[in-house]
């Protein structure tokens, strides 16, 4: 069983193999966050590595006030946000100020092709959403964090997390229904 206190103790004593175990334990968690939030496809492995380097450098400051997974997810989230700011692409300002009024744009032929692959389709739909929606959807459904843990990770108040989660899921459901209806209609024609 993975005992996080024991592993952290060993790492702080300079045991690099213990750190390798920690990376193995949390690499999926970090990858999910980076994969969903960062657009640069080629850079993801490097960003994940940066996250773990930050984890190593700051592990001495970790006081076990939260779960280790929550703390690592916060580092991954902040690293992803930094990367988005640096690339200046798909940053917050690109989206409407009032994200409650966010709606998906009309599709193009490329999007229709993506719809044929269910997993790629979901990823494509998530990719189009504002970063706040992407973050809560990923942390809640893929990483299985609770709304209160998402507040600890992102700094977004729990009530707002719930509201983003509700709105993002509603938008996605409507989009999926629209696309399905549209494709069904085209097939029947």
């Amino acid at each position: 069983m993975f005992d996080e206190k024991e592993i952290v103790k060993r790492i702080l004593k300079g045991d690099f193999r213990a750190f390798e175990l920690l990376v193995k334990q949390y690499e999926k968690l970090v990858f999910f966050v980076i994969h969903r939030l960062v657009h640069d496809q080629h850079n993801k492995e490097d960003i994940c590595q940066d996250v773990f380097i930050k984890v190593y450098q700051n592990l001495g400051k970790f006081q076990f006030q939260s779960k280790l997974a929550t703390w690592i997810a916060r580092i991954a989230y902040l690293t992803a946000v930094d990367d988005i700011k640096k690339s200046k692409k798909h940053f917050f300002s690109e989206y409407p100020d009032d994200i409650d009024r966010y709606h998906f744009t009309e599709e193009n032929p490329e999007e229709e092709l993506i719809q044929k692959d269910s997993s790629a389709y979901i990823n494509h739909v998530i990719e189009q959403m504002p970063i706040q929606y992407k973050t809560v959807i990923t942390l809640y459904h893929l990483n299985e964090f609770s709304c209160s843990e998402i507040q600890d990770i992102t700094g977004i108040p729990e009530g707002t997390v719930k509201s983003y989660l509700f709105r993002a899921r509603k938008l996605m459901k409507e989009k999926m229904e629209n696309d399905l209806n549209k494709n069904g209609y085209e097939r029947n024609e």
């Binding site: 690099f16 990376v23 459904h141 459901k173």
Partner: protein, 139 residues
């Protein structure tokens, strides 16, 4: 009596409960709950691509390399200052014991500046080379 239709928040909450729903739902509500359940299932699916299998090993190596380089640098800086301090103390002692000898040393040292410099350079090169060799073999 007409039953009040469930709103999206209630539908999402219902869809999150595992197992079949005991509540009596209208056809539209049932369709919506199923749509939400399908969406949640898709959102839980892991991405097709992932990190390479040796990712953890690579990260460990990168950090180990970084830490060792930092500690090597610290060691060499300390060594340099220790060496300089010892030389300075030796010179001061020599000056206290025999001022003439220390003066003679100051006079002849410029003649050996090149050979002295080369000796120090060779020593450090061998030292660095051997350290790198040991590290490369370890990884």
């Amino acid at each position: 009596m007409v039953m009040k239709e469930m709103n999206d928040e209630e539908l999402q909450h219902l869809a999150e409960q595992s197992g079949l729903i005991n509540k009596s739902l209208s056809l539209k509500e049932e369709k919506d709950v199923v749509a939400y359940q399908t969406l949640f299932k898709k959102l839980q699916a892991e991405p097709a691509e992932g990190l390479p299998l040796n990712f953890a090993v690579n990260v460990r190596r990168a950090i180990q390399h970084k830490v060792e380089r930092k500690s090597d640098l610290k060691f060499h800086i300390i060594l340099f200052f220790a060496f300089t301090t010892i030389l300075a103390i030796a010179f001061v002692l020599l000056h206290l014991i025999s001022p003439a000898a220390s003066e003679q040393l100051v006079n002849i040292s410029p003649k050996f500046k090149w050979s002295g410099g080369v000796a120090v350079l060779v020593f450090w090169s061998i030292h660095f080379g051997s350290q790198r060799l040991v590290r490369d073999n370890r990884y």
